[in-house]
Symmetry: C2
Subunit: 308 residues, 2 copies
């Protein structure tokens, strides 16, 4: 049988690239020494049928294409330097829709104070927006440089977009999070300054990110009660016949940051945050449920939930 790319999945394809290049450090972004400074660079491609929900406006598509890239800078604790845009459009797209996409891109660049420094257009059968974000920082926040006993902290509620994907109604916090996610750029810089030991952004779900962060001999214990799930969230999930904890653990697209930090350094941090667990020596990714039962968290996520 001839193997297809779909047989091994996108994460394995990326692993193949990494394994074959001696110059890639697998983390949220590349880190390049440039005259004694760390240049941070990352690129991410969004494809209409996979990454833009049907109800998303052209403006929001443009905005999101900046957000997903800037979120990777945030995950490194980097400051923004510049954004490059490569965009492919169907021939028959209305000119006005193109202008709205660009307006969304520029609005996001303005919001994150990252200048749009280059742009290129192309033709394709659907809208494809490939962005590159450049940034810099003294000490990039890698994914796995934590210590046992560090706290596991997030910058906001997890699972908000996950629920939003399942709602038809508009104009609620869940759907808003799907349509206009915001990267935690400012928070990433402050987290880095406060002495966080590692960080990443939550795109593929809490479970996936924890497994990405995990290194041999170390583990994580998450406490369900610390996730602070609202009664409303549980009720809506229930009405939709969805397991609320599955939504929170295995979907993602919130673009919140998850980071590790010592108790002492957390005191210096002046942003909203939620301590949800700690780094352990268990060699497992676990959760203590509200009923005190401990379960392992599976390494399962919706790589691209929108289209699946």
């Amino acid at each position: 049988m001839t193997l297809k790319v779909s047989d091994i999945g996108e994460k394995e394809l990326v692993r193949y690239i990494i394994a074959n290049s001696k110059d890639i450090t697998p983390d949220d972004t590349a880190v390049t020494n440039f005259n004694g400074n760390n240049l941070i660079s990352t690129c991410d491609m969004l494809i209409q049928s996979r990454h833009f929900p049907e109800k998303m406006s052209y403006f929001d598509m443009g905005f999101k294409s900046v957000t997903v890239n800037v979120s990777d800078l945030a995950a490194m604790g980097a400051k923004p330097l510049g954004f490059l845009l490569s965009i492919a459009l169907p021939k028959d797209l209305e000119l006005n829709s193109f202008k709205q996409i660009i307006e969304g891109v520029l609005s996001a660049c303005n919001y994150y104070s990252i200048p749009l420094i280059g742009g290129d257009t192309n033709e394709a059968s659907e809208i494809i927006i490939s962005g590159t974000a450049l940034g810099f920082c003294d000490k990039p926040l890698m994914k796995d440089t934590y210590n046992i006993g560090d706290l596991v902290v997030v910058t906001g509620d997890i699972g908000i977009a996950a629920l939003g994907f399942n709602l038809d109604s508009m104009d609620n916090i869940y759907v808003n999070k799907v349509l206009k996610p915001i990267a935690r750029l400012r928070e990433g810089i402050l987290i880095n300054d406060a002495g966080a030991t590692s960080a990443t952004d939550i795109t593929d779900g809490l479970a996936c990110e924890l497994h990405e962060m995990k290194k041999d001999g170390f583990g994580f214990m998450i406490y369900e009660e610390r996730l602070d799930v609202s009664e409303e969230y549980k009720e809506i999930s229930n009405q939709l016949n969805l397991n609320y904890l599955d939504l929170i653990l295995h979907v993602g697209e919130d673009f919140e940051l998850i980071f590790t930090i010592s108790k002492d350094n957390l005191k210096n941090l002046d942003i909203d945050y939620k301590v949800i667990g700690k780094v352990t020596s268990s060699d497992k990714v676990e959760i203590t449920l509200e009923n005190n039962i401990i379960e392992e968290i599976e390494n399962k996520g919706y790589e691209h939930y929108v289209s699946e």
Copy 2:
């Protein structure tokens, strides 16, 4: 009537982006001051149905995706720093084909001494490869900083790929140029060091690039005899019922550099080159034909010849 993006064309779309961003300097790449150094960055997206001829191998697709980006670094006279790869693949692509693309990318990165520092994969209905090249240089070679009297010089034969697009046979210099174009990275650096006054790479055709380089009050005179068109080239064009000068002026995809330089500085330049004309004060882009008749060169090019 509602305007579509196809009604105004890709160059106009890019102009729209540039006009709406205060931070874009329109040239081959972005130039960003980074702690007193010039960071050079550029991104280019290649789409299977538009940029990869049918007979192109997967390896060559990967190679070309690096070449088109590195060629923009070359056009600035920049040294390479790093390459980021974002690739989208059809679900049913054979895994082996994916591996050949990556082999092509890595082979090109090795050839140009530009490390592959990041990679990302995605799913799409056809192969889409978006690359970002990062580089640096003290004094970037812009497109329009030439002086009257400067020589107009190219790094090699122009129109080779143009003829190749029209040939069904394989394994000749014309088709080889189409399948495996090479960026003039080394030459760009040497040209810059020698004191060239401006440069760009020839992707959309000699005519297009000259018009891109043109500034008010300045012009170019190109001499047909200096283009040094071989008898073979003229004969094959003739057999195909194609005007050889049209091929040379209006197609592109050679990835040679065109640059301006003073006669004195040209003496310092130790690469193969061909002087094809000079910078004038005519405010026109002109050519002196072999019969000594002078004609204006139209601003007409095949933005994406392969699919049209």
